[in-house]
């Protein structure tokens, strides 16, 4: 399950970054890139909390 979630999270991050390069290359319009970024953002935040555990404690002072 953890592996599946990690794959979905990675796909979410890919949807955030890859479309920008497709806009740059003239392959997709800007609007599609913005929509895909939003979808990728949702995927990332829905899945990452389940496997990105807190390790260690950091105090600043």
């Amino acid at each position: 399950m953890r592996r599946v979630l990690q794959i979905i999270s990675a796909a979410g991050l890919a949807m955030v970054i890859v479309p920008a390069f497709l806009v740059f290359a003239g392959r997709i319009p800007w609007r599609t890139h913005a929509d895909l970024m939003l979808a990728g953002t949702v995927l990332w935040f829905v899945t990452a909390p389940f496997w990105m555990g807190m390790s260690g404690k950091k105090g600043k002072g």
């Binding site: 979410g12 991050l13 955030v16 970054i17 479309p19 920008a20 390069f21 806009v23 740059f24 003239g26 800007w30 609007r31 890139h33 913005a34 929509d35 970024m37 939003l38 990728g40 953002t41 990332w44 935040f45 990452a48 909390p49 990105m52 807190m54 390790s55 260690g56 950091k58 105090g59 600043k60 002072g61």
Partner: protein
């Protein structure tokens, strides 16, 4: 201040840090990957959305920007590696307890309060950043580069709402928010890059080969916007070096680096510098140019990444302001007898939100960040001199602790005189840090020499 009241303050101050009192044990040391994550996460934050555009506004040329950032960030990494990390791994104490041994609890109390106020203003700038994105759907009038005062009712309402929510979360759920910021960090960095790449065609970049030409002619043109001073290579280099001066030269990151297995982990700060203070600053500069010089973070992020960009600005502002506000509340708690933590954080949040109403805080962020580092830097110089120089001169380290001195005159002189000297220097604020650090080291060393000699002369031989 009465003696009884003073000792109550010291007790409260100590109790806040009680759980951190002992040096970090070997089994709590952390590996390199933790430090990579922390540095990369901390330095891709809300401030990055403002700093990149301000470089554009100040007319930095493209070569000056690239070389200034490369060299300035390298100097910052070296400062972490050679100044903060070696002392942190030997002392294994956080800044609070290490500094207490040198400067005494009373001076440390003052330092804590100053630090807290600086934190409030920094958090305020981040609330302003988030407000520029929250106000987008309401067509709020955005603050402009030369706006110092609130420019509309919409701005005031938005800032008050954002400030209220940030303060509420700082009171209710700091731990959860802290976890959320770690999750947000990799996404946030990619949003910066993606937003910048997607607007490059609108600036006339049709392939990688065009970028440098467009960068020189349309982004970092070397011509400042109206009313802005001209920045050179030296401004960029010193800003990149000193914008985290409180953390490396000022030694605040001893608190983090005391968990490092070896001092060389200080070099891992490079992940924060070159992802955040190089790539993200360049990305937000590109966005500013694409937005025809607008510097309001919300609109420029929306221009590059749509709703995800606006969300990123809110998250970036939020995740930076929240822990900052929490730390301010922690520090201020020492000065507020019998106040619960929530009440102190609420007061800090109110100050922070009021500060955020003034766009000047965001638009003058470069100056504020430089000032913040400069004000806290002398205590880092005191730690440096105490650790490395005093033993070489036959003087004692941690003199305040050994002689039960409550207020170290040498450290107070080093702090006060250095700041007076630095402010008197006929230099822009970005250039005052280096001569200031040298002055602080010299003043503390000389005053410690006089102090310790006078103790010996009075027959109060310093214990071995």
């Amino acid at each position: 201040m009465g003696k009884k009241q003073s000792s109550a303050i010291i007790q409260r101050l100590d109790s806040l840090y009680e759980f951190d009192r002992e040096p970090v044990s070997d089994r709590k040391l952390q590996g390199a990957s933790n430090f990579i994550g922390i540095y990369a996460g901390e330095h891709v934050a809300g401030t990055e959305f403002v700093i990149g555009p301000l470089f554009v506004a100040h007319g930095v040329s493209a070569p000056d920007l690239i070389w200034g950032l490369l060299i300035g960030n390298l100097l910052a990494v070296l400062s972490w590696a050679f100044l903060a990390a070696p002392i942190a791994v030997r002392s294994r104490l956080n800044l609070y307890w290490h500094l207490r041994k040198i400067v005494g609890p009373y001076l440390l109390f003052i330092y804590n309060i100053v630090n807290a106020l600086m934190f409030c203003f920094l958090a305020g700038a981040m609330i302003s950043v988030a407000a520029t994105a929250v106000g987008l759907p309401f067509h709020m009038r955005m603050p402009e580069l030369n706006d110092m005062l609130p420019n509309s009712i919409g701005w005031i309402v938005t800032v008050l709402v954002v400030g209220g929510v940030v303060t509420g979360i700082a009171i209710l759920g700091f731990e959860r928010m802290s976890r959320f910021s770690k999750i947000a960090a990799p996404w946030m960095f990619l949003v910066f890059v993606a937003a910048a790449v997607s607007v490059l065609p609108t600036l006339g970049v049709s392939g990688p080969g065009d970028f440098w030409q467009v960068a020189k002619e349309k982004i970092w043109t070397g011509v400042p916007l109206a009313g802005q001073s001209k920045f050179t290579f030296w401004h960029v280099m010193f800003f990149a070096w000193f914008c985290n001066m409180a953390m490396h030269i000022g030694m605040a990151d001893m608190t983090l680096l005391r968990y490092a297995k070896k001092w060389q982990y200080g070099f891992l700060s490079a992940f924060g510098m070159y992802l955040g203070h190089f790539t993200a600053w360049i990305a937000s500069g590109i966005l500013c140019a694409a937005a025809a010089g607008s510097v309001a973070p919300g609109p420029i992020a929306y221009l590059g990444a749509g709703i995800a960009g606006a969300v990123c600005v809110v998250v970036a502002g939020w995740t930076t302001s929240n822990p900052t506000l929490y730390r301010a509340g922690l520090a201020l708690q020492t000065a507020t007898p019998d106040w619960k933590r929530w009440k102190v954080t609420l007061a800090a949040g109110a100050v922070t939100t009021l500060a955020a109403l003034f766009p000047a805080l965001m638009m003058k962020l470069l100056d504020f960040v430089a000032l913040y580092g400069l004000i806290l830097m002398p205590m880092g110089a005191v730690i440096f001199a105490d650790f490395w120089l005093l033993p070489k001169l036959g003087l004692e380290r941690n003199f305040a602790e050994k002689k039960k001195v409550l207020f170290s005159i040498p450290a107070a002189l080093a702090w006060g005189v250095t700041l007076a000297f630095a402010f008197a220097l006929p230099l822009e604020i970005f250039f005052k840090g280096l001569p200031g650090w040298i002055a602080a080291v010299l003043i503390f060393t000389a005053a410690s020499y006089v102090q310790q000699r006078s103790f010996r002369g009075a027959g109060k031989e310093v214990e071995a």
